[in-house]
């Protein structure tokens, strides 16, 4: 073949490249060593600035050199005029831009930039903001840039509405971006105040985190556009959950006092750690220093805390006592009177009044929720197998009316487990939670202390803090694997029925003062050690272990008699 262009062979090219690399490496090492020597000698001159610049522009992730550079710059600050310093730092910003082009996600460069920006005598925040915008337009998920931008926005006092427009723009160009949606969720509560005087970004977050109604409706529309366009994108669904959600009020929700045990139990709306002395107990007008314990040694944070009163304080049945517990931190308190002749007393906020289980979703007006439900149902008709849609549908139904939608909810959970089998256990747990919530509501309507959820496919137990006053519990015919430590919250429990489960662990039957009967027919209790927690329940008299592997052990009867001497009625 004639006339062809001859091209260097791969070997030749490789060789050239290798030599090139070697040369570069030599220069690099020389410069690096030069820098190190200078730093050791404490030299802070322009040459050092030059050298570090050379090195950092080819490798912006060299933290030591950035540190050295900062030392030099701080030294220069002390010897130069303000105008000169301004110039030096401006040059530094330009240099940093070139570094960011090499690696837009360099920790060193971004950190140095915020350091320089903070020290610049006359910072140009508008320029920094536009740099961030440019950077985010190239990669809208660069979290370094997001971080830096937050700093700039704070320093520049950018108004909230302007920032909201910024998220509009970002979400408009790509709505699959958690950062943008999340940023929006931090901005909306700030918009709550009147439009005339929008607070700058650094303002303290307002007391109420509610978003104003009008804005909310706009947000619903925006997010619906996103999940109708792409129902498989999670970011929009999560934002929707946030929109519909509300924050739980922190307070004492229940106080229970038992004369016989001389014990007080306090229930909080969420797990807390009260050991730091933030809980004040006042008995008949006298503050008492008591020791608060969580219900199980495993928990540092717990929604239920108990304390023992000094022996004899309330044991006399003919005395009436007034008890108050103050949660000083949150300005929440609960009072309760133990009347003459009563063995116990309590004060509880009902879950129904509080709409407690709607806490997953907000207390939006029913009409708004209803119309949201309709649009999600519309989407569900188009995309019957979309898991996000199904899940959101369930949540909306629960927010509207947990009891009357129970059947539909169960059907949707069934579909969810089929279309998203990888998460079927998650859905089972979630469904269990909702079934327990429904049972609690039913129990409250019935005004009883009996909690019965048999045959509901429960895979887990939750909301046990709501069951502090329950005396009888029936968990038969479910898929429970254990009685978790939280079970110890059932301070008043007398009878436990849990036939036909797969329970192999009784960890939660811990120091239950009133527990008398434990029915555990057909479960998975295999060893005597599994029964060990029962030894902490002083009143246990009846134990049914029929159909458990443990009954097959040799000498089980005598061993059990040794282990649980109080049990008189033992069924094996």
């Amino acid at each position: 073949m004639h006339g062809r262009v001859k091209v260097k062979s791969t070997a030749q090219q490789e060789e050239e490249k290798r030599k090139e690399r070697e040369k570069k490496l030599k220069i690099y090492i020389a410069a690096r060593d030069g820098c190190f020597t200078k730093r050791k000698e404490g030299v802070f001159d322009d040459e050092a600035l030059q050298l570090t610049q050379q090195l950092l522009s080819s490798n912006p992730d060299f933290a030591t050199l950035w540190n050295y550079r900062r030392e030099i710059l701080m030294h220069l600050e002390t010897v130069k005029e303000v105008d000169e310093v301004q110039k030096i730092y401006e040059a530094e910003l330009l240099f940093l831009e070139s570094c960011l082009k090499v690696n837009p996600k360099s920790y060193g460069s971004w950190h140095h930039r915020s350091w320089v920006s903070a020290r610049l005598p006359r910072p140009d925040w508008a320029r920094e903001l536009s740099l961030c915008d440019r950077c985010l337009s190239l990669d809208d998920r660069n979290f370094h840039c997001w971080d830096y931008r937050r700093m700039v926005v704070k320093m520049f006092n950018v108004p909230v509405d302007q920032e909201l427009k910024f998220t509009d723009r970002l979400i408009g160009s790509n709505f699959s971006n958690y950062s943008s949606w999340h940023y929006r969720s931090t901005l909306l509560p700030l918009l709550h105040t009147t439009a005339s005087e929008l607070p700058p970004m650094q303002a303290e977050s307002p007391k109420s985190n509610r978003v104003c109604e009008e804005q909310l409706l706009k947000e619903y529309e925006l997010v619906q556009n996103a999940f109708f366009t792409d129902p498989n994108d999670q970011s929009a669904w999560f934002y929707y959950r946030w929109l519909l959600g509300r924050e739980l009020e922190e307070m004492i929700s229940c106080l229970h006092v038992s004369r016989e045990e001389e014990q007080v139990a306090v229930v909080f709306s969420r797990p807390v750690n009260v050991q730091s002395g933030c809980l004040l107990l006042v008995l008949d007008g006298q503050p008492h220093a008591v020791e608060w314990k969580s219900i199980h040694p495993r928990f540092k944070h717990s929604p239920v805390w108990i304390c023992n009163l000094p022996p004899g304080t309330i044991s006399e049945i003919s005395n009436e006592h007034n008890l108050t517990v103050h949660w000083t931190e949150k300005h929440s308190r609960k009072d309760c009177t133990l009347f003459t002749g009563h063995a116990e007393s309590w004060c509880q906020d009902s879950a129904t009044d509080q709409e407690l289980f709607r806490s997953e979703l907000s207390v939006e007006k029913n009409s708004v929720l209803q119309s949201e439900l309709q649009s999600v149902q519309q989407l569900q008709e188009l995309e019957p197998l979309n898991k996000w849609c199904l899940l959101t549908l369930i949540l909306l139904m629960r927010a509207l009316d947990p009891l009357s939608y129970e059947k539909e909810m169960l059907a949707h959970f069934q579909t969810l487990k089929e279309v998203d089998s990888m998460r079927s256990a998650y859905y089972s747990d979630l469904c269990s939670k909702f079934m327990i919530e429904n049972t609690i509501l039913k129990m409250e309507y019935a005004e009883v202390r009996v909690f019965s959820v048999s045959d509901k496919n429960l895979s887990t137990l939750c909301h046990l803090d709501q069951l502090v006053l329950v005396t009888h519990i029936n968990l038969s015919c479910n898929q429970l694997l254990c009685l978790p430590p939280q079970f110890a919250m059932l301070r008043c429990l007398e009878v436990l029925e849990a036939d036909n489960n797969s329970i192999g662990n009784l960890e939660g039957l811990y120091h239950l003062p009133k527990l008398e009967a434990v029915i555990l027919k057909d479960n998975k209790i295999a060893t005597l050690a599994d029964l060990e927690p029962l030894t902490s329940c002083p009143r246990l008299k009846r134990l049914d272990l029929r159909g458990n592997p443990v009954t097959q052990l040799a000498n089980v009867e005598s061993e059990l008699a040794k282990l649980l001497p109080s049990v008189l009625d033992l069924l094996l």
Partner: protein, 630 residues
């Protein structure tokens, strides 16, 4: 390159610098063939060329003057034993050229009403043609035009505004002096235009000053001429599909290093008398205000299932795509977008074709931008030139204003042995490529040529306003009346380096039903503001050009009673992309060199080993595979 001492032997001689010819030239040169590439014109890219505004005016002029009689010289003394002569002559493939200027000749004084000084000029002429009859016609044409000028002078005398009159006359002189431009008046509209229908139904008085313009100052014709260099006006109207064969070829061959590209930023459509943006990406659909959330879901679902090719649609094969879309319960809005703007087909296109083009559109989305298209900075005329440059880098020889007179046929083998160029030099060669204009007279008379109707507008604003003034828009326009052609329109902003700032360059293209003016002017009148249109608030047309160009899509590469080693390269086709040209170039290349790789990547200049004097000249170039202007 001086033409006197061309080498007397080449492997491939190519006449015409259109896209097909240029790609084959680059491909051959790249694998070591000696290529001679000629064009009788003074510019590159033939009917694919771009011109500055003034360049275009001269081109219009040339089209008119292109009547120089073929000097029939006897080349028999160059013939050898067993050889036969095949004379070559070219014929223009441009018809029905008409020009309208809707802006004032000179800068106006602020308060002057724009229309009082508007003139409409129109140029019409028959194409250069080989037979005596049409020469006659041409002469008549000239006579008519002389008359017209007189008319115009009279007309001007009636004008009350003396200043304007002077301006106009000055302008007239300018034109006469510099461009020798014939100016027809609207009353003479019906002068002879070959290939066009009788034009009785054309509007008779397009220049009636009927509106008072808003105070916005119009760009004058003088300004257009002054800023003429800012324009790069393409003869063809095409876009590059991001995953089309042209883009792939540019990347594969490294020819892309010679050009820069701009993303087409949006797809528009014309519907119910309004210009709307077509949502075609996820972000567009999300942000769209025309679509309900349910429509959004349906559209996204349709597009996703389309690209995944999950469902079997063979049941619809042969049935119209529109019927298929209807059966998907997509609703009017979505059907329109999908049919006209995304698939860019017509109501009776079969489903399988519609689906294929929908998929092609979707595959091209998102590679570079939010639409499937790219546009080369400085116009499409850059592309053939890039390939020519590649050819030259690998030793190809280029001569413009240089043509071939005849082919020398070896009667024994039915192969072309040599060619005789326009300077009478005999050049031996193994293969010859001709642009299609040279084989017109050999065309099968049974299939009359098909034509494209083209219009080029310079307007003062965009059809669809947005935050940015630098949008590059593809506009799909379904037939506005029954039987009318579907029109593809491209609106270029000055960011594409094809028009002066403050103006937009609008290309319209469709398959001809009749003359370009008849096909396109009704649409232009409704979508834009011209002296004929009634609506205000639309972009004003400052200047516009209509012409028909032969549709190259039907041209066969071989045959035409030509020797077996002579290939014909077709001119531009009516499709939006470049598939036809690139496929044809590859086909021709493989006919010439069946064993060779088509446009393998060009090596980096620093990797090329030079020995002796045959070093190809190429500057140091190191650029990414495709340069996008953001």
């Amino acid at each position: 390159m001086a033409a006197e001492d061309l080498p007397s032997e080449f492997d491939v001689v190519i006449l015409g610098t259109g896209l097909v010819e240029s790609v084959v030239a680059a491909a051959c040169s790249r694998v070591g063939q000696r290529v001679l590439h000629l064009d009788r014109r003074s510019y590159y890219a033939a009917n694919w060329a771009s011109f500055t505004f003034n360049g275009l005016l001269s081109w219009i002029q040339q089209q008119q003057d292109d009547t120089q009689p073929e000097e029939t010289q006897d080349w028999c003394d160059l013939l050898e034993e067993g050889e036969e002569l095949i004379q070559l002559s070219s014929q223009s493939s441009i018809r029905n050229l008409q020009v309208f200027t809707y802006t004032s000749k000179e800068d106006e004084v602020e308060e002057a009403s724009a229309d009082s000084v508007n003139t409409t000029e129109e140029e019409q002429h028959g194409p250069a043609s080989q037979d005596d009859d049409s020469n006659q016609e041409n002469l008549e044409n000239h006579e008519n035009q002389e008359e017209n000028k007189e008319n115009q002078v009279n007309h001007e005398n009636q004008e009350e505004n003396k200043e304007n009159q002077v301006n106009q006359e000055n302008q007239e002189e300018n034109q006469e002096n510099h461009e020798n431009q014939e100016v027809n008046h609207e009353s003479q509209e019906a002068t002879i235009t070959e290939g066009a229908e009788p034009e009785a139904e054309q509007p008779q008085s397009p220049a009636i000053p009927s509106q008072s313009e808003p105070s916005r100052k119009k760009i004058s014709f003088a300004q257009l001429e002054k800023e003429g260099r800012r324009f790069n006006i393409d003869l063809v109207s095409k876009l590059m599909y991001s995953r089309g064969s042209l883009v792939e070829l540019l990347i594969k061959s490294n020819v892309s290093r010679y050009a820069e590209f701009k993303k087409v930023s949006r797809i528009l459509t014309y519907r119910n008398g309004e210009v709307e943006q077509v949502p075609c990406t996820r972000a567009d659909v999300f942000a769209s205000r025309q679509l309900s959330v349910v429509e959004k879901r349906k559209l996204m679902r349709f597009l996703t299932s389309c690209i995944e090719e999950k469902d079997d649609q063979s049941a619809y094969n042969g049935r119209p795509y529109l019927e298929f879309l209807r059966d998907q319960k997509l609703g009017e809005n979505l059907q329109h977008f999908l049919l006209y703007s995304i698939a860019m087909v017509t109501e009776d296109t079969p489903t399988e074709v519609g689906l294929a083009s929908t998929r092609n559109f979707l595959r091209c989305l998102g590679r570079y931008g939010n639409t499937p298209f790219l546009f080369p900075l400085y116009g499409l005329g850059e592309i053939p030139q890039c390939f020519c440059r590649m050819c030259a880098v690998f030793g190809g020889i280029y001569c413009l204003r240089h043509s071939l007179r005849c082919l020398l046929l070896d009667t024994a083998t039915n192969r072309c042995k040599a060619v005789i160029d326009s300077r009478g030099q005999r050049i031996s060669c193994s293969h010859v490529l001709l642009e299609e204009n040279y084989v017109h007279e050999r065309k099968n008379v049974a299939t009359p040529p098909r034509f494209l109707s083209r219009a080029v507008l310079i307007t003062d604003s965009s059809l669809h306003g947005s935050d940015s003034e630098q949008e590059v828009s593809m506009v799909t326009i379904p037939p506005i009346t029954e039987g009318a052609p579907a029109v593809k329109m491209v609106e270029l902003s000055s960011s594409t380096m094809t028009c002066m700032s403050g103006t937009y360059l609008v290309h319209l293209n469709c398959s001809s039903v009749s003359s370009a003016y008849q096909d396109l002017s009704p649409l232009i009148t409704t979508m834009f503001s011209t002296p004929e249109s009634h609506d205000q608030g639309r972009p004003s047309v400052l200047w516009c050009l209509y012409f028909n160009m032969e549709d190259g899509s039907a041209m066969e590469v071989e045959g035409h009673d030509l020797p077996s080693n002579v290939y014909v390269c077709s001119g531009p086709d009516g499709e939006l992309g470049h598939e036809h040209a690139i496929t044809q170039a590859e086909l021709i290349f493989h006919k010439i060199l069946p064993e060779e790789d088509f446009c393998p990547p060009a090596p980096n200049p620093e990797d090329i080993l030079y020995d002796g004097g045959s070093a190809p000249s190429s500057g140091p170039e190191e650029e990414p595979s495709l340069q996008l202007e953001v």
